[in-house]
Amino acid sequence: MGEPIIKLDDIVVDFKTKDQDLLAVNHVDLTVEKGDIYGIVGYSGAGKSTLVRVINLLQRPTSGAVQVNGQNILSLNDAELRQARKKIGMIFQHFNLLNSLTIEQNVAFPLRTSKLSKSEKKKKVDELLELVGLADKKDNYPRQLSGGQKQRVGIARALANDPDILISDEATSALDPKTTESILNLLRDINEKLGLTIVLITHQMEAVKQVCNRVAVMDSGEVVERGEILDIFAKPQHPLTKAFIDTTTRLDATLKVIYQQENVKNLPASDKLIKLSYVGDSTDEPLISTLYEKFNVSANILYGNIEILRGTPLGNLIVILTGAASDTEAALAFINGQDVQVTELDPKAQSEVID
């Protein structure tokens, strides 16, 4: 376990109005460790923004405790809170740049009250613009930039005071896939180069897959599942997590097609339709050939997919095991003993029988 840098403890945010009582965040605990890129996913209205805005107290929680960098944020006075906020950068879906200022002035904006000398500030701004690849745009105005470029300015601005934490609230949601990828790569670079901890809100599981090492899934103000990215992708528990993962693997859609195939529709009782999921090293073992040699069971691969999650492969195979009934049972037992997760599929029920 690394060192915790953000600790949210039993956070409740209650938006009370005359006629209703909206629990936007409902007793959430969340610990982010130094160096994490922590993804927070969930559908619109799940309470993601509200939860992360508690980290820099843009949103005061109704109850709960907030520790950031070892500091009890809730006990700070106004001046101390402003100081603490300078160490928590934030980027936004709609960039939120000042249209009246040039790119250079936008990046310099958070440095207005800093103790750096004029030349040090200028040097800092130049370095940041270099880092995000916009040195040549410094005299332009935000209106003259594309969405991706604006977000780069947002990132440079968020880094001006050398923060320890960067909060990204749907920072790529308004961008096309290619631009999204380049922004995500930039975030990962910053995470590696500057050791910055990043909290990344998104509804794009693709983004989580690309950069996050941990993820929390939110639904109706609660965190329904959380963990290391590989664990979550390999063994999702909550239906919402499964639905989100399916948005990148499209496994559900694939299964629907497979269930319509003749050989699957008329599957003999002795044969088994299974899904194999494996992480990392297990891919090196010659599983399929072992099945044939040891159990005389042949495996017919209907579908295969490998995701690379931060450098680790995560595979999904859908296969039909064919052989004598006792042999296929034995083969199943053998696979279960390996580092491979087996899910038996039932084409008639058109759903997974075993989880």
């Binding site: 843009l58 906020r85 934030m90 740049l97 904006f109 207005r112 209106r143 005071n161």
Partner: protein, 228 residues
């Protein structure tokens, strides 16, 4: 010159002197300028107060907001011509007279600044709340947000609002002129209208129009300069 003498005999007769065109133009400019500056400062301050203390503002305060908001509405509901009369005693207290261009200043300012405050409010609520939120997240103070976000980002709209206000202020000075404040309005009514010297009325109107056009043109120029 012959042309003017022929078609506008009364203009020539009424050109110079305190009650002539030269004096009237000076008086109108004086009233407009002084009350624009004072109303500008007051209106900006009050407008900012309403924006900042609004429930979505950076320092929400229900009491201050609703009192200020209601006062603005109250003053804006009093017709100017009645305002001139009703605040006579106050005017006398502040500038010592209720007539002449100085006597007009107090009612002009009181008639104008609530209007401007509302215009300022309308301009500043257009500033993207996301940018305000970003500034907060950067550890900006409320004062910093007012000066470096609201007033900077809202500048083009503020200038438009100011132009609108100055133009309506010119209208008010003319109205004040009718009840003894001097200026082009006074000339048009007291000389042109009352003595049936139509050429005077027409020329006074033309001068008022020129003034309005100049203000509008300068405003447009500045707006174009400051919007990016």
């Amino acid at each position: 010159m012959d042309f003017i003498a022929k078609y506008m005999p009364n203009v020539v007769a009424n050109w110079e002197g305190e009650y002539g065109f030269v004096g009237a133009i000076q008086q109108t400019l004086y009233m407009t300028f002084i009350s624009a500056i004072v109303s500008g400062i007051l209106g900006l301050a009050v407008g900012l107060l309403v924006v900042v203390t609004d429930k979505d503002g950076i320092a929400p305060n229900r009491v201050i907001y609703s009192i200020t908001d209601k006062l603005i509405n109250l003053f804006r509901s009093i017709p100017f011509i009645i305002l001139l009369a009703v605040i006579g005693p106050l005017t006398k207290l502040i500038v010592g007279t209720t007539i002449g261009e100085n006597g007009a200043l107090v009612p002009l300012i009181i008639g104008c600044f609530p209007f401007y405050a509302r215009q300022v409010q309308n301009a500043l609520v257009q500033v993207d709340p996301g940018v305000i939120e970003a500034a907060k997240a950067m550890g900006e103070t409320n004062l910093g947000i007012v000066f470096h976000v609201y007033l900077k980002e809202g500048l083009p709209d503020l200038i438009r609002a100011s132009v609108l206000t100055i133009i309506s202020l010119i209208g008010l000075t003319a109205m004040a002129g009718a009840v003894g404040a001097g200026g082009l309005g006074s000339l048009a009514i007291n000389v042109g209208y009352q003595r049936f010297e139509n050429d005077v009325t027409i020329l006074a109107t033309i001068f008022v129009l020129i003034l309005v056009f100049v203000v509008q043109a300068v405003g447009d120029l500045i707006t174009r300069k400051v919007s990016h």
